[in-house]
């Protein structure tokens, strides 16, 4: 593989701001960051990963790509205040300036307006997505005994989503139902699975270059077209057009093929 030409600024570097890696690291979501790192590395693009924990300050212009993964309600509660109060302005500024973001599950919920968990008070979100999430058990007002009977209303299983003329594959596992407002466009249409809420066939949300979704798997390794799309968006902002040679995605294709034919 040939390395891309160095830009005017020198070596091409993608800076990923990884939000709360020590708190939100469930269901292999870290694999998305690994995927971005390797697909850049194989093309000679440097990647720098900035862990953005509770209390870490963000310099909006420094981050090309935000990533935030999934976690339990209790973990969401731990970071909610820091995300909205301490980091909110810098994140909004970066997104307005064209930064890319990939938010999975809890991350996606927290970039919406509000999350109502099963137990406890509502959590205020960043409000970047015009979306609200309510835990299914809070919406249906069920008791703790019902919820333990095999997680009745939880949306768990393999997912296939139509996206930009192709498909995304993944695994969902969420109790929250997300409803999009007029200001958010869904990422795609659910072919297999529940998606945002199990009712309106939408999955995920897009606002500017911020992508929210419920898909674990992790998402990017089995959906290399989306991975490359996001990397290019992030590089364009800082470097314009950068040489972007295709990679051998044979193994990715085989894993997609298996995922497309799984039962729900």
């Amino acid at each position: 593989m040939s390395a891309p030409h160095a830009s005017a600024a020198g070596v091409v570097t993608l800076t990923i701001g990884y939000l709360y890696p020590s708190v939100l690291s469930q269901y292999g979501d870290w694999g998305n960051v690994r995927c971005l790192q390797q697909r850049c590395h194989w093309r000679g693009i440097d990647v720098e990963i900035l862990p953005l924990e509770v209390g870490t300050a963000i310099e909006a212009s420094a981050v090309d790509f935000f990533f935030m993964g999934g976690g339990a309600d209790s973990q969401q509660r731990l970071i909610a205040r820091d995300l909205v109060m301490a980091k909110g302005d810098a994140i909004r500024e970066a997104i307005d300036a064209g930064s890319v973001a990939l938010l999975i599950c809890a991350g996606y919920q927290m970039w919406g307006r509000r999350y109502r968990p099963f137990r406890g008070d509502d959590l205020e979100g960043l409000g970047i997505f015009d979306a609200e999430t309510i835990h299914w058990a809070a919406e249906e007002k069920v008791t703790i005994r019902d919820i333990t009977s095999a997680g009745r209303g939880r949306m768990v299983g393999n997912v296939v989503v139509e996206w930009e003329g192709t498909t995304l594959v993944g695994f969902e596992n969420h109790g929250g139902r997300t409803y999009l407002g007029a200001g958010a466009r869904p990422l795609g249409r659910v072919v297999v699975g529940a998606g945002n809420n199990g009712k309106d066939h939408t999955e995920g949300a897009i606002v500017r270059h911020a992508y929210g979704t419920y898909l674990h798997g992790p998402l990017l390794p089995k959906n290399p077209a989306l991975a490359d799309h996001l990397i290019r968006l992030a590089l364009q902002r800082r470097y314009g057009e950068v040489p972007f040679p295709p990679l051998d995605d044979g193994l990715e294709g085989q894993a997609r093929e298996v995922a497309l034919h799984l039962h729900r």
């Binding site: 292999g28 870290w30 393999n158 596992n173 990715e252 894993a255 298996v258």
Partner: protein, 472 residues
């Protein structure tokens, strides 16, 4: 002491089902219990009242099978007759199956003064089993992330347990792992007697938590826990700077643990019953923990130290946990992995004892594995870089494994040093190919998830290399 009329009907249905299954040559199912339970949900409780010495329950994410085996052997050595759920599952229906099998058609268990119930219980079914059996003792080994598509989050499971503990008889003793903060904290909210066990040998401590650690938050106030030592995953010596809660000091502690490669370990214990030494014939720190947990439970039941020592020293490897055998002139090492922490533990043991591996990795996504295979991305597969001769990915989700290996960088290296990767979803093909590529006298390593392990084991049993699991 005998079951109600409804209980007798359920018992009859359960026994009938079991007889039919046996006649068709099928062992190891919990269908009899399931059927009996549907007819009369309280059957297990009614039958269990006939167990003279009461019941003890063993639960936790990792190690419960091995600990249960050691405890059963120790109790047998002490002259007791343990009734245990080897056949059937570790859900309530499996325990019901065991009781149905042991009871007479009139619902009487052997009227022996030596009878004691020793039941391994699935984490999610612990509250139901507690309510059914009112155990006299409860051992909890650890709580890791495992099959989250069934049980959501570890702290949620812990909260369900805490609620169930409020319904325990006042005299029930809890044996808890002090090194697991989620488990140790359960001892805070009960008035029952609690015996904490833990590891004090600082040589095994590291300063940083491994990637697969699940719980590093204080269970009392949710602040960061500070670890002065971390053994594996989130097990270690911890304290909360915010609220002051800290690891309880174990009354039974292992102050010296010598790990002898793949062979096993020697443990020196400080206990309320005096100093003890155990030889554990199973590898790794996690098996040392299993032995400590089993010993704590057996001593608490009054088993003499020499019977405990003999039981621990004799334990055969539990189903699929690093079994070794010969196959077609090759040495085969077979390891079961269930979640990121057990996978990391197995890899670590292998890499400490072997310079390079010839490896078959098998990943299934059936209900008993985990339908969600994302967890392989939380495994430190990167550790295998430069340590593989070649690797064959197998199982229903072989392609996912292949992708994980690729992104771990395991397949990279100088042109002559790149390990070849083959993807062979059919388990039998992968093992045959693995054996073909392994020179006679050399070792082939197979790492597999639960149902893949079952399938492989059945194959090896048919070929006469291993005893069936439920007879072993």
């Amino acid at each position: 002491m005998s079951p109600t009329a409804a209980g007798l009907v359920a018992l009859e249905a359960g026994k009938g089902t079991r007889w039919l299954l046996r006649r068709s040559g099928r062992g190891g199912t919990s269908l009899p219990g399931l059927i009996a339970e549907r007819i009369h949900p309280r059957l297990a409780g009614e039958l269990a009242q006939g167990i003279r010495n009461g019941s003890l329950l063993i639960t936790g994410t990792n190690g419960k099978t091995t600990s249960t085996r050691m405890i059963v052997a120790a109790l047998r050595g002490a002259g007791l007759i343990p009734l245990t759920n080897r056949e059937g599952s570790n859900m309530l229906r499996g325990i019901t199956t065991t009781l149905v099998a042991a009871a007479s058609w009139r619902g009487r268990l052997p009227a022996s003064d030596q009878l004691i119930g020793v039941f391994e219980v699935d984490e999610g079914h612990l509250p139901a089993v507690i309510d059914a059996l009112s155990p006299r003792m409860l051992l909890i080994t650890n709580l890791f992330r495992d099959q989250l598509d069934r049980y959501f989050e570890v702290d949620f499971v812990a909260s369900l347990w805490a609620t169930a503990f409020q319904r325990l008889p006042a005299a029930t003793t809890l044996i808890l792992n002090a090194d697991d903060p989620l488990v140790a904290y359960l001892g805070e909210s009960v008035s029952n007697p609690v015996l904490y066990y833990g590891l004090e040998d600082g040589r095994w401590g590291r300063s940083q938590l491994q990637h697969s650690a699940d719980s590093r938050r204080c269970p009392r106030c949710a602040s960061d826990l500070q670890y002065s030592r971390s053994f594996y995953a989130h097990l270690g010596h911890y304290a909360c700077a915010a609220c002051g809660w800290h690891r309880p000091t174990p009354r039974l502690s292992a102050w010296d643990v010598e790990i002898g490669g793949l062979e096993g370990s020697t443990i020196k214990l400080q206990t309320p019953w005096g100093p003890q030494t155990l030889e554990v014939p199973l590898p790794g720190l996690f098996n040392a923990y299993n032995a400590i947990a089993a010993a704590a439970t057996a001593y608490s039941l009054g088993v003499r130290p020499d019977a405990v020592k003999a039981a621990v020293g004799d334990v055969p490897g539990a189903f699929g946990r690093l079994e070794r055998f010969e196959l077609d002139g090759r040495r085969v090492l077979l390891a079961l992995v269930k979640n990121p922490s057990s996978f990391d533990q197995v890899t670590e043991i292998l890499l400490r004892n072997r310079s390079t591996l010839r490896l078959v990795l098998a990943l299934n996504d059936n209900g008993q594995d985990s339908r969600d295979v994302s967890w392989i991305w939380d495994v430190a597969i990167e550790q295998l870089c430069g340590r593989l001769a070649w690797v064959i990915a197998s199982g229903h989700r072989a392609a996912d494994l292949a992708l994980r290996l690729k992104y771990a960088g395991v397949l990279e290296g100088p042109p002559d040093g790149r390990p070849a990767l083959s993807t062979m979803p059919v388990l039998a093909d992968a093992v045959d190919e693995g054996l073909r590529r392994t020179p006679p006298g050399e070792e082939l390593t197979i790492i597999a998830t639960y149902t893949a392990m079952w399938a492989l084991r059945e194959r090896f049993v048919r070929r006469g290399h291993l005893a069936p699991f439920w007879q072993a």
